[in-house]
Amino acid sequence: MQVTINVNGQDVSRDVEPRLLLIHFLRDHLRLTGSHWGCDTSNCGVCVVWMDGQPVKSCTVLTAMADGRSVRTVEDLEQGGALAPIQQGFMNEHGLQCGFCTPAMMMTGQALLDRNPDPSNEEIREAICGTICRCTGYENIVRAIRWAAEHQEVPA
């Protein structure tokens, strides 16, 4: 079937199998390999991308469901060669080790900051609890998102 999806600001049209998962469309068809695939059961959350501005687990979204919608991935965070505050926060606070959950954590963290520019540590923990990290014990991810909250430009 034919789908047209706005991916990171660009319309992309492809003929895909109806059963194709969004994560596989992004990774295998568009070669956007920053988003990862970890469990198939919506438990691990390393596949989180945005669909129409909301974080979704792309292993349980069919590509067909994204037809006519916009999808944003980690590859779109850096703008004009400058790391976004959420990226800089993860670096400064050592919020990543193996890097596998990092894109999902950053997309989730940015979505939180977009709706709540000054979240508490508890609110951050609640926001990211749908993605599992095996390396960091979460502490530095919380700090990274706090760092981003303190360093991002908030629209007046």
Binding site: G34, E78, Q97, I132, R134, C135, Y138
Partner: protein
């Protein structure tokens, strides 16, 4: 050895030890990591594995014709095909054999039965459904405690003359001396405990891409390997492939934790698939495959005893272990140690005697046992002794901190030889425990706990039960030395190569392989410290066997103790050579020169000198060097560590337990680690954080159990629960610094310390809250509630 003032480079980084942001982050933050599943190649095919739905069955027939007829299928490989290649059965790391694809029988649920290669991964999965396997179901051996029963089904019927499920008996320590110590004890406490089967579950599953170039005979395998050099040699030994034509490449690895040490059937099948099809073949397993078939950890049924005098002096410990190794003995550990380093179970205390006996058995479960940041089973050892000490404290009504302080090894006893023969290199234990108690506010916590208990006794049941748990651990990390430690005959020593280019920029080549530990950063810092080259000018290369020196890889927290030693020594060799070159250029004797970070200068005339960058260029110039000194500024080293390093730490966990539901909330966790000087404190703290989360997971959530038919009850993340941000508290860290006397940098490994040390702190805390002597992990709400009713259950079987 202590960290002193470190100069800063033009890039803002410490030229040596200190907090430095990670070099590797640049690619991960942009979604530009290079994991194995990110590989795409022209003509690449995709493999998928058909797995056994049952735990124990005879394979009567396999019909692959419908799968082969699928329009997108290129090949179907079965055990029968592998038999023709001599690859159906391969040696394991423990000198047993294991099936790559089942031929005669399947022996665990999830075992590999057939491999389909197709044009795309969806078609490969579709074709699995078309394979028809006729199984004759056999009774499985699920309960390790029944594995040696007379009449138990024999799992390894492939082994000629095998009539039972026994693998090995092994013991350590002095049984007679231990009996004598127990004979004079006033108090003996006995406790059975299970360290249940758990699974490391890195977020990236295992995978490989294999490409056999038929023209050159070159085989390249990109895979998730923590030990690429060892893999290459094993492929050569097992498959008879010429080792100089094999290239193993580990790119970025999405977490390993010991799970990615061994060679899995999928890797071998990708290789065979490429040989058969002539195309690159990718195989990446899904989460259920990963949980059901790759290396698990622990599964130790332990019967422990601890003896003490009436004033709380511990005299001895003994333990009898039943070790469930699954259906193939495939544990990854040094050859001489069938129970890993379990016999370090004497832990951190000073006593007369100790003895352990371990019996390994086969069961109808996936093979493994040594994985998951366990330092070759020191995890089980620490859990045993730390639980026994708490049981003793409860029995004697002594505060568990006081009992530990009374019995901890003292600084003047180091280097210390344990009753089972391990030589601890250095330690100063009591200050670490006191520091943890200080951070925790231990006395105040106990006062709060007393007050709560009084309120509850007075009828106020609104508050949760409060527990305070302590653990003290001694780790042993950085295997070898190679005279004592090898894997399949390969001594556990590691190489390093350093090339300083003419302009003074350097490349360090290592045999170890990061899975997230930040090697590109910390190893650059080591060279920076030794040579004064800014860390941003040092590139660290690892993971590609074609451009790195041989070594055994990264697991058992061995990168810093072993490869870190290699990096320091190779840098010092280069520095020594630089001295000779500088002396020629300065027209003086090398003895007239002194080293000031990054520069050889004339003693008493520091204006005269040459920087390491200048010397690098001189080493390539027309400068005439003394006889025997070759040009260029390069060096090599193979580091054979003289001993393990022994990091240690004191942990305190505070929990709140809902008495009505059994739900546990970890309120606080205090971790004081001593791993010697810290190369990059930020990275060390990150390593500790991750291990503490592991401890919370293992103590409270994670278990791979089996029902009576051998069905894996932890085969997806819906059943196998890992801690999220909600289960983890904000970690409170502290440190003491006791350098290793034998390591060139004084450093010890730290990657596994927290995973090893934290589970008993959590368990001790929960049991302290509910005032129960013992219940096995994981302390799920059901288990805690049942324990409070005096009816805790076995966590390795279906709950009854």
């Amino acid at each position: 050895m202590t960290v002193t003032e470190v100069p800063t480079s033009a890039g803002g980084n410490p030229i040596g030890f200190g907090r430095m942001l990670r070099k590797e982050d640049a690619r991960f933050l942009r979604g530009q990591g290079n994991y194995v599943d990110d590989i795409d190649m022209p003509g690449m095919l995709h493999g998928a594995i058909l797995r056994s739905p049952v735990a124990h069955a005879i394979i009567k027939s396999i019909d692959t014709s419908a799968a082969e007829a699928h329009p997108k299928v290129k090949a179907v490989i079965t055990g029968a095909v592998l038999e023709t290649l001599g690859l159906a059965w391969v040696p394991t790391l423990s000198y047993d054999t294991a099936a790559v694809l089942a031929t005669d029988k399947v022996r665990f649920q999830g075992q590999e039965v057939a491999f389909v290669i197709a044009e795309d991964k969806y078609s490969a999965r579709d074709a699995l459904e078309l394979i028809d396997v006729d199984y004759e179901i056999l009774q499985p051996v699920v309960d390790a405690k029944r594995a040696l029963d007379p009449g138990a089904p024999v799992i390894r019927t492939d082994k000629e003359g095998k009539t039972d499920n026994h693998i090995f008996d092994w013991e350590a320590g002095d049984a007679a001396k231990c009996d004598a110590a127990f004979a004079k004890a006033d108090v003996i406490v006995t406790q059975d405990m299970l360290y249940p089967r758990t699974h490391p579950s890195p977020m990236e599953t295992c995978g490989a891409v294999a490409l056999m170039d038929k023209v050159t005979g070159q085989l390249t395998i990109w895979c998730t390997s923590q030990a690429p050099h060892a893999h290459r040699t094993v492929y050569a030994l097992v498959a008879g492939l010429p080792e100089h034509k094999i290239r193993v490449v580990s790119r970025d690895i999405g977490g390993g934790f010991g799970n990615k040490v061994g060679i899995y059937s999928g890797y071998v099948l990708a290789i065979v698939g490429s040989i058969v099809t002539g195309k690159p073949v990718k195989w990446v397993e899904d989460r259920s495959e990963h949980l059901m078939s790759t290396a698990f950890a622990r599964d130790y049924h332990m019967h422990g005893e601890i003896a003490a005098t009436k004033d709380g002096k511990i005299l001895g410990v003994r333990v009898d272990v039943l070790a469930d190794h699954g259906c193939f003995n495939g544990t990854a550990q040094p050859t001489k140690f069938p129970a890993g380093f379990f016999h370090i179970f004497t832990g951190s205390y000073d006593y007369e005697a100790a003895h352990c006996k371990v019996t390994g058995v086969y069961t109808n479960k996936a093979p493994g046992g040594v994985a998951y940041a366990c330092s070759f089973r020191i995890t089980e050892a620490v859990y045993l002794v730390e639980r026994l000490v708490d049981c003793l404290a409860a029995e004697m009504k002594i505060d568990p901190a006081e009992l530990r302080l009374k019995n901890l090894l003292r600084a003047e006893q180091f280097p210390y030889t344990t009753p089972t023969g391990w030589e601890y290199d250095s330690g100063d234990y009591a200050p670490a425990l006191r520091e943890a108690m200080r951070i925790a506010g231990y006395d105040e916590l106990r006062a709060e706990q007393r007050a709560r208990r009084e309120r509850r006794a007075a009828g106020d049941t609104t508050e949760p039960l409060m527990g305070i748990g302590i653990s003290f651990f001694t780790e042993g990390v950085g295997a070898g030395p190679r005279k004592h430690m090898d894997i399949l005959g390969l001594g556990m020593a590691d190489g390093a190569e350093l090339r300083v280019h003419p302009t003074g920029k350097a490349q360090l080549r290592l045999s170890c392989m990061s899975q997230g530990q930040g090697h590109q950063t910390t190893f650059a810092q080591i060279v920076a410290q030794e040579l004064g080259i800014p860390p941003e000018d040092i590139e660290v290369l690892q993971g590609d066997t074609d451009n790195t020196p041989f070594g055994l890889g990264t697991y058992g927290s061995r990168s810093t103790p072993v490869s870190g030693g290699a990096a320091a020594i190779v840098a010092r060799r280069v520095r020594d050579k630089a001295r000779i070159i500088a002396a020629v250029a300065l027209e003086c004797s090398p003895d007239d020169l002194e080293w000031e970070l990054g520069r050889w200068q004339v003693k008493g005339d520091p204006e005269k000198g040459k920087t390491i960058q200048e010397i690098a260029m001189l080493s390539h110039s027309s400068l005439e060097l003394p006889d025997g000194v070759e040009g260029h500024l390069d060096g090599t080293c193979v580091y054979d560590p003289p001993n393990l390093t022994y990091p240690f730490g004191a942990y305190i966990c505070v929990t709140d337990v809902d008495a009505g539901t059994g739900e546990v909330k970890v309120r606080r966790f205090i971790a004081v680690d001593d791993c010697g000087p810290r190369i990059n404190p930020m990275i060390v703290e990150g390593q500790v954080h991750g291990g503490l989360a592991d401890g919370v997971g293992m103590a409270l959530m994670q278990v791979i159990a089996f029902d009576e038919e051998g069905n894996n009850l932890g085969g997806s993340f819906m059943d196998y629960l890992l801690p999220t941000s909600m289960e983890c508290p904000s970690w409170e860290l502290g440190m003491t610094v006791t350098p290793s006397p034998h390591h060139p940098l004084g450093v010890k490994g730290v990657g596994e310390s927290a995973t090893v040390g934290s589970p008993p702190a959590v368990v001790n805390s929960v049991l302290d809250a509910i005032q129960v002597r013992h219940a096995d992990m994981p302390l799920t709400p059901a288990q805690v509630w049942r324990a409070m009713q005096g009816n805790s259950f076995r966590t390795d079987l279906a709950i009854t």
